[in-house]
Every structure is written in structure tokens, then in C-alpha cells.
Amino acid sequence: MSSMGKQPQRANLLQGTLDMLILRTLLYGPAHGHQIGKHIQRTTNDFLQMQHGSLYPALHRLERRGWVTSKWEMAPDRNREFKYYRLTDKGRKQLVVEESQWKQMAEAVARVMWPAAEES
């Protein structure tokens, strides 16, 4: 129990949100699993500690749906092959859809939580 305080606060990702984050990350360009995980972690200031346990299944799920493709490529800095994921056109469209859905959702939640802020 005492170790609780030292760990950064973590949040559980909403179902499906991870997919959106991965797709958004890949918008910058191809990346391998480790990079994606690290990127999300860093960008959220370690608020979302990436669990590899859900990252890899999610990546494969996206590939299966055809939103990303994968290819083994040489890493420029490591001189070794990594499995790089790349956004497909279908994935791009999906990202737009998920983004707008998320926005709607966030707005809906906000309207309930902070009604005053909405009016001003």
C-alpha cells in the first residue's frame, strides 16, 4: 500500500480509445510497437503508462481490420530490423471517425460535469 504514492497516477483507457491513440500516433509516420508505446507514454507525461499486454493485441487487431499494415524494416539508428506499422487510407478514415466520436463523447460528458462552463 505504501508504494502506491510513489507510482505515477494511472488511468484505465476506455475501450477502443487505445486504437484511436495508436492511429493518431501513426499519423506522424511509420513506427514500431516500442516507439508507439513510448510515444503515448511520453506525450501524456506518463499519465497513460502503456501496458504492452494490451498494446500488441491492439496493434494486431488494427492490422487485422486493415487500418494499419506492417513490415519488417531496418531501424535507422539501431542497425537492426523492427516491425514497423503504417497507417492505411482506411485507417486514416477510421481515425477521423473515431476522433469525431470521441469529441462528441467528451462534449457530452463535459456538459454533464460542468454545466456552468458551457453557458459562459
Binding site: 504492452h52 500488441y56 523492427f82
Partner: protein
């Protein structure tokens, strides 16, 4: 699919590895020591095996693929221990096969409606006597008198129509009396076939004008049409000769029509060939009535009308045996009456065996899951969900029962065939076959037994307590305590079911032995019998009948090898034959309304009693002088004398018989009792001289020989053929064969139940042995410690025996309690045996305990051989 899987697995593996390495490198670059970096990377990643598993699961998303994988694993597991698998599959195959077979027969015989139009509205109507003495044995369903049938049909309105049929038998010959053949026949009323909704396959059914005493139309069943007439359609319209009289074939019945049984070859109109007067009688009971209920009338209302008509007839014929009421019976009940109870008992027996089989397989599975306890514990610790583990075990037991089921269904096809052939007089035999419904039943059986056998051990072995056992050392016994308890419970139920089966089998066996050793009251060794029936057309006077019979007897008596010969209508043990009512002129007439006394009626020649060794108690036997034209004489048996002449000398008194010349017959002798049929209570009997020359009845020739009786059958048949080449001889059997035939079905059901019980006993003892071996192995350490502390070998043996025999005792007690209730079911099948026969119960208990002790002895002995030093060292 699969080929991609392997590649994908390698791909996932490589991806995880490269990313993990990267993480490790990064940690190192941050200045962490290489060793710590390795563990830090692993921590950050989590359980790589689980990730692999879950990532793979993304691709193999379908339930089907999961199932296929589990099935593959299970098959591999089963192949790893072929002995266990074969045993389990064999047990399942036997149990499922037997159950499926019996279900096939039961469904066809007892459940499937007969293939007639609207079978639900068809009902048989019988006459019913209310006299308690007539219902003492069984509720009586009395055949209907022709005049009653005609009255019912004319005077009631609750039924659309009523049809009738009666038993008949003909000597079928060609036009020139060639190829004589005794054929089973039925007389059916003209409206019977339309009533059932049956049309002729060729030609037509009977018309109303043909249904008269002088009617001479005939219909062939498909069997006779194919067999004797080669399927020649031109036979319709031509003549065949029945008992020497020409009949015109008007039609052929369809192939599927085998009502009331498959042996029937010819149908004639109901009234055809009957003496005209008989149709107006209310007291000749030989007709079966089939009625079709009107859709808008309830059965109770329709029957009450018939009952009213019948009671009116009863009041008008107070002295004659005319029943007061009527009773209905379904067609299936009517056909399957004799086989229903044995079939249901057999069904219970196989059900019991199936339960035992399932419990046994469950028991073996528990033992195996105990052996795999570590494997399951490890897998569970590595994150395998409990659901998956249970599913795998279930799939294993389902596979076993599936393999057993497929083998079992194949077995059952053969077994059904065998059963149908062995079981005499099984109704609807042609309809007994495996079809979709039977297959569905077998599938349900496979699923149910697989679940039953698999679910119990699966749940117990994956329970948290079992997994906790992994954490402890191998010394821990407590963790498996619950599993041992489960096995013992299973075993107790198994033994209880075995006891029930054994007791049922024991009772049936004793009853059968009683039947076999029944004394029918006459010589049964080396006695050959054969039957013939002199056709009325050719033998039209008593003199002609007597001439034939006497010449035949003389010739037979001089045939080499023959010691004595008897001629009569029936021999003891061959069935009841006819019975008739009589009155005694010397006694005051019976009160109006009371039924007249009734006794079996048979004919006998002067040598009948001496040849069959039936002792004469007083008076004399018949002589050649007791014949047609002389004063009428009768011989009665002891039972008749006791019943109707208590305390007086019956000799010289008379019996008045309405049905036989309306005359007084003087009693000239009293003979000892005989039994008309094994398994039935004896009945009062009277004998009339065969030389009275009546030809209405068939005759049975009985020949006592010195050596093998069957050796004289051909010479005697040749004698008969010399006297009359057109006369067919039937039923050539020894008396012993006749008795055995009448016991055939009792013997069949007894031996079947017995073999089920034996199998159950073997299964139970195997189960007991298995449980105890397992238990002993598990307690090796404990026993070693005990012995090191000074326990004697006998004490160890006692310890293990006690552990094994306890479930046997509980099972025995439970089984006996259940049996005490269950024997009611077979009560009516028992002959000369009480359902709670203490000898049988004791014998079963002794057998079971002996077998149980034997099964326990080997593990107990092995336990006593345990070397304490070795076990302690391994601890």
C-alpha cells in the same frame, strides 16, 4: 489458416523479442547495469507468454478455431495414454450401444403410433367381466362375441365405425391340393381396412356383400404374394384353395401392413367360413374390435353408450358368459402388452449400466486429473483461465464419449438386429430400425454422458483448492482430500447402481430357474409332438375322422423306436387351448346371474394318459368304446373334482355341456392335474374322447420314444403323408422344446439383465481397484511413516482395505434400499419368487463384498510391501 498460424506465431515472437531487446538496450543506455536492465525490461513488458497468447488470440478469433485447437490437444492427450483411452471408449461404446439399441426397440414397439390414418382416434374395445374372480390374476380384457359386436356397431353413435377381426388358420393348397402349407390367417370385417385407412396395394379390399358366412373372397399379405406367387399381379381375380375350398383373391395388402402381426398370410372376410348360427351368439368370445372415435365425441361418452348396450345383453343372458361391461385399450397397448414390461425393465437396466459406465469414466478421469494436478497448477499459475482448463477436460471426456458413441451406434445396429431376431413375437418388428430420431437420441446420449463424465472431475481438479496444493510440498495430502471424497462418492453411487442391477438379475434368474424346473404333470423326456388339422370338407363325417386317426395311431405305434403314442387336442405345457362352460345336472342349478363353471376342454384317445404318464386317480381311462354314437363320457382332472365335487365321488355324475351337443357327459375317471402352460396357475380340465370324431379342433400327436425323439419325426411324417398327402403337419417339437419356446422371452430378458449386471459388477470392481490404487499411491508417504513408527503389515492392510471397503458398504446399503423399491417394477415378471427374496439379497451382498474385497486386496497388499526407508528418503 493453420499454415498461416505458424508463420504468424514466429512473427509475433520476433516482434516481441526485438521490442524487448530495444527496451533493454534503452535501459542500459540510461546507465542501468545489464542484469538489472534485463529484469526492468521484462517488468515493463509484463508477462510475455500472456502477451503472445493474447496477440495470437486476436487472429484466431473464431470459436471454431479455439475448439479445433482444444480438440487437437485433447486427442494428443488421449493418445498419450492409449490404455486409458481404449478402456474408456470401450465402456462408453458398450453402454451407449446397448442403450441406443433398446431405445430403438422401445420406440418402435411402444411409442411410435401405428401407421394408420389418425391413429390417435383408434381404440380397441374388449368386453369386461366384473366378477372379482375373473379379475384376480389380471384385469380381464375379454374378446368380444360376434353378436355383441354387431349390436355395438348398430346401436351406438359415438364411434365413426367399428371393425372386427378374428384369428384363423388355413391349409393353403394349389388347385390340385398340391403344396399344402399351414398359413396363419385373420378374418377381418369388410369395413376394417377403410376404418384403418388402409387400401389394397393391388386390387381392392372386401365388400359388404362378401362379409357373409358363405363369402369366399381372400386378400393376400405382401409376404405371401411375393413368396408363394412370385409377385405375379395376375393372381388377383384368380382362385386359391383354403382348407380345400376355393377363394377368389380380390386384393393384395401393402408391404408395410403387418397388423396385427407379421406372420399373417391371408385375410378372409370376418363372417366367412363361420357357422351361420354363431354370428347371433353373445357368448362365443373370439372377436377383436377396433373402433374409430368420432372427433366431436369424448372416448368416455362413446364408451358409456357401448357399455349400456352390453349391460342390456348381459341382463338378457344371465346364465351365459356375457360380460357386464366394456373396456378400451390402445392399439399399441394391445399389441405390445406382453413385451412392454420386459422392455421397460431392460431399458432401466441399460440406463443403470449407462450411469455406471459414465461414473466409471468420470472416475478414471478424476484419477488422471490427479496425475495431471501439477500440469494444471502450472498452467493456471501462468494465467490459463479456469474456463479454458475446464473446457479442455470437458472436450476430452466428450471426445471419449463421442468415439464411444460412434462405436456404440455401430454396435447397436448389430445388437438391435440380434435382439429383434432373438425376441419372439415382438410386434412391429418391421418398423424397428435406426432412423434420424434414434441417431438424435444417440447424440443426446453422447453429449449427456460426456458432460456427466467430464464435468465432475473437471470442476474438482481446477478448483482453487487443488491449485493451492501446488504451492505446498509434495507431502501435502490435504489438497487432494476433496478429490478423494469425490471419487468415493462416485464409487458409492456406482456400487449402489450395480447392487440394484444384481438384485434384479438375481430375482429374474431365480424365477427363470423356477419356471424351467416346473413339473407340467406329464412325461417330458423323449416326447415328440406334431400337430395337424383334418379339413372339414374332406373329413365330413366322424367316421372318416376316426378312420384316419385310428389308422395313424396303429401305424405310429408299430414304427421302430416308438414306445407309446397319444392323440389329443393339446399336450400339457403347450398352451391353454379351448375352454368351455358346463353345469352339473346332479347339483342344484346355479342362481340366476351367477357365472357357470368353466374348465379347459381337450380331447384324448384311450392311450393318451398312459403314453404321457398322467396318473389315473380313480375310475377308468377311455376305451375304444368311448366313441361317436355311444353314451357320452368325460374324464376330469383332480382340480375339477376338488373344485366342483368337494367331498363327493364324481364318478357316475354328469357334466352338461351346451356347446358340445347340449348333452350330459358321464364322468368315468379322474386323472392327476397337468399344467397347461408353464408360469401360469393350473386350471381345472376335462377330457372328451378323441373318437367322438369332432373335427373342429386341431390334433396333436405325441410320441414317446426310447432314444432321440427327433429321429422318428421323419418316419412319422411319412406315415401321415401316406395316409393323406395333402395334410400339412406343423409344430414338430419335443415337449421340452415347446416348454422352452414358451420360456424363450423370459430366458432372453433374464440373460440380458444378467449380462448387464455382470458387466456392471466388472466396471464397479475396476472402479474400486482404480480408486484404491490411487489412494494407496497417494498415501505412500504416510504409510511409510506409520510403518517406520512400528505399524504392522496387517494393520496397513486393514487400513487400506477399510478405506476401500467403506464406499462398498455404503454403496451396498444404498443399493439395497433402492432395490427394495425398484423390485416392484419386476414383481409381475417373477414366478414363484418373492420380490424381497432374502436369499437373493444375501447372495448379492456376499458377491459384491467378495468382489470388492478382491479388488481392494491388490492395492492393500502393495501398500503392505512399502519399504519405509525408501519412502522416507524420497520425502
Amino acid at each position: 489458416m493453420w499454415w498461416q498460424n505458424r508463420k504468424r506465431d514466429a512473427d509475433v515472437e520476433r516482434e516481441l523479442r526485438s521490442d524487448l531487446d530495444l527496451e533493454e538496450e534503452e535501459q542500459r543506455e540510461r546507465g542501468v547495469s545489464p542484469e538489472e536492465a534485463h529484469y526492468a525490461a521484462l517488468r515493463a513488458f509484463g508477462n510475455p507468454a500472456l502477451i503472445r497468447e493474447q496477440t495470437r488470440a486476436v487472429w484466431s478469433c473464431s470459436v471454431l478455431e479455439n475448439l479445433a485447437r482444444d480438440v487437437r490437444i485433447s486427442i494428443r492427450t488421449l493418445f498419450r495414454s492409449p490404455g486409458f483411452s481404449m478402456l474408456a471408449i470401450l465402456i462408453m461404446a458398450l453402454c451407449i450401444g446397448a442403450t441406443t439399441s433398446l431405445f430403438t426397440v422401445v420406440r418402435s414397439v411402444l411409442l411410435k403410433p401405428l401407421p394408420f390414418r389418425d391413429p390417435d382416434r383408434l381404440v380397441m374395445i374388449y368386453e369386461h367381466f366384473r366378477d372379482p374372480s375373473m379379475n384376480s390374476q389380471d384385469f380381464n380384457y375379454n374378446p368380444v362375441a360376434p353378436a355383441d359386436y354387431y349390436d355395438w356397431r348398430a346401436q351406438t353413435h359415438g364411434f365413426e365405425d367399428m371393425g372386427a377381426w378374428r384369428y384363423w388358420q388355413f391349409n393353403l393348397t394349389g388347385e390340385h391340393s398340391e403344396l399344402p402349407e399351414l398359413v396363419s390367417a385373420r378374418g377381418g370385417s369388410w369395413n376394417l381396412f377403410p376404418l384403418l385407412g388402409v387400401d389394397a396395394a393391388i386390387g381392392r379390399t372386401f365388400t359388404e356383400s362378401e362379409d357373409r358366412p358363405d363369402g369366399s373372397a381372400a386378400m393376400l399379405t405382401w409376404n405371401l404374394f411375393e413368396r408363394r406367387f412370385g409377385g405375379d399381379r395376375l393372381i388377383v381375380g384368380r382362385q386359391i384353395h383354403l382348407d380345400g375350398k376355393p377363394y377368389t383373391v380380390v386384393g393384395v395388402l401393402p408391404k408395410w401392413f403387418t397388423y396385427p402381426d407379421a406372420k399373417v398370410q391371408v385375410w378372409v372376410p370376418y363372417a366367412s367360413g363361420l357357422p351361420p348360427g354363431i354370428l347371433t351368439h353373445h357368448d362365443f368370445h373370439f372377436t377383436r374390435v377396433v373402433a374409430r372415435l368420432r372427433p366431436d365425441v369424448s372416448l368416455a361418452r362413446a364408451l358409456s353408450q357401448v357399455e349400456a348396450v352390453q349391460y342390456e345383453q348381459h341382463l338378457q343372458n344371465l346364465h351365459a358368459p356375457v360380460a357386464e361391461g366394456v373396456v378400451p385399450k390402445t392399439l399399441i397397448q394391445d399389441l405390445a402388452e406382453d413385451v412392454k414390461r420386459p422392455l421397460i425393465i431392460l431399458l432401466w437396466a441399460v440406463g443403470c449400466m449407462l450411469l455406471i459406465g459414465c461414473l466409471n469414466v468420470a472416475n478414471i478421469l478424476v484419477a488422471r486429473s490427479a496425475a495431471r494436478q501439477k500440469e494444471i497448477g502450472i498452467r493456471s499459475a501462468l494465467g490459463a483461465p479456469r474456463r479454458t482448463l475446464i473446457r479442455e477436460q470437458l472436450i476430452e471426456s466428450l471426445l471419449v464419449s463421442f468415439a464411444g458413441g460412434v462405436t456404440g451406434v455401430l454396435l447397436s445396429l448389430a445388437a438391435t438386429n440380434w435382439l429383434v431376431n432373438r425376441w419372439m413375437d415382438l410386434p412391429n418388428v418391421q418398423r424397428i430400425r435406426a432412423d434420424g430420431e434414434v441417431l438424435a437420441f444417440a447424440c443426446a446420449l453422447v453429449a449427456a454422458s460426456g458432460l456427466l463424465a467430464g464435468l465432475l472431475p473437471a470442476i474438482s481438479s481446477t478448483s482453487m483448492a487443488a491449485i493451492a496444493a501446488l504451492e505446498g510440498s509434495s507431502r501435502s495430502v490435504a489438497g487432494s482430500q476433496s478429490r478423494t471424497a469425490l471419487r468415493k462418492t462416485l464409487l458409492t453411487i456406482e456400487i449402489a447402481a450395480t447392487v440394484v442391477l444384481l438384485i434384479a438379475a438375481g430375482l429374474l434368474l431365480k424365477s427363470f430357474w423356477r419356471l424351467r424346473t416346473t413339473d407340467v404333470g406329464c412325461a417330458t423326456d423323449n416326447v415328440l409332438t406334431m400337430s395337424y388339422s383334418l379339413p372339414a370338407k374332406k373329413y365330413d363325417t366322424p367316421e372318416k375322422v376316426n378312420a384316419f386317426n385310428q389308422t395313424l395311431l396303429e401305424r405310429v405305434r408299430t414304427t421302430p423306436g416308438v414306445q407309446a403314442a397319444a392323440l389329443g387336442s393339446v399336450v400339457p405345457g403347450a398352451g391353454p387351448g379351448e375352454d368351455d362352460i358346463f353345469s352339473i345336472p346332479e347339483h342344484p342349478s346355479t342362481a340366476p346371474g351367477a357365472a357357470l363353471p368353466d374348465a379347459l376342454y381337450r380331447t384324448a384317445d384311450p392311450g393318451y394318459f398312459s403314453a404321457l404318464q398322467i396318473p389315473l386317480l380313480s375310475g377308468r381311462v377311455f376305451t375304444n368304446g368311448d366313441r361317436v354314437g355311444r353314451p357320452k363320457t368325460v374324464i376330469i382332472d383332480h382340480m375339477l373334482a376338488e373344485q366342483y365335487f368337494p367331498g363327493e365321488n364324481p364318478l357316475g355324475k354328469h357334466l352338461h355341456m351346451v356347446a358340445h351337443g347340449n348333452a350330459d357327459y358321464e364322468i368315468v375317471g379322474v386323472v392327476a392335474n397337468t399344467l397347461q402352460q408353464v408360469g401360469q396357475p393350473g386350471r381345472a380340465t376335462m377330457y372328451i374322447p378323441v373318437l367322438n370324431g369332432d373335427h373342429g379342433m386341431g390334433l396333436t400327436l405325441a410320441v414317446q420314444t426310447a432314444a432321440d425323439p427327433l429321429a422318428v419325426s421323419v418316419p412319422i411324417q411319412r406315415q401321415i403323408a401316406e395316409l393323406d398327402p395333402e395334410l400339412p403337419v406343423s409344430e414338430v417339437f419335443t415337449i421340452q422344446q415347446t416348454i422352452e419356446r414358451s420360456l424363450g422371452n423370459a430366458s432372453l430378458s433374464t440373460s440380458l439383465v444378467l449380462s448387464f449386471a455382470a458387466l456392471a459388477l466388472i466396471l464397479a470392481s475396476v472402479g474400486l481397484y482404480g480408486v484404491l490404487s490411487y489412494l494407496t499411491t497417494q498415501r505412500t508417504g504416510e504409510i511409510g511413516v506409520r510403518m517406520a513408527l512400528g505399524a504392522q503389515r496387517q494393520q496397513v492392510v486393514r487400513l487400506v482395505l477399510g478405506a476401500g471397503l467403506r464406499p462398498a458398504f455404503y454403496g451396498l446399503a444404498l443399493g439395497i434400499v433402492v432395490s427394495a423399491g425398484a423390485v416392484r417394477l419386476i414383481q409381475s415378471m417373477l414366478y414363484g419368487t418373492r420380490p424381497l427374496d432374502p436369499a437373493i439379497f444375501a447372495a448379492v451382498a456376499a458377491t459384491l463384498l467378495a468382489v470388492a474385497a478382491l479388488a481392494c486386496l491388490v492395492p492393500a497388499w502393495r501398500a503392505s510391501r512399502i519399504d519405509p526407508m525408501r519412502t522416507l528418503r524420497t520425502e
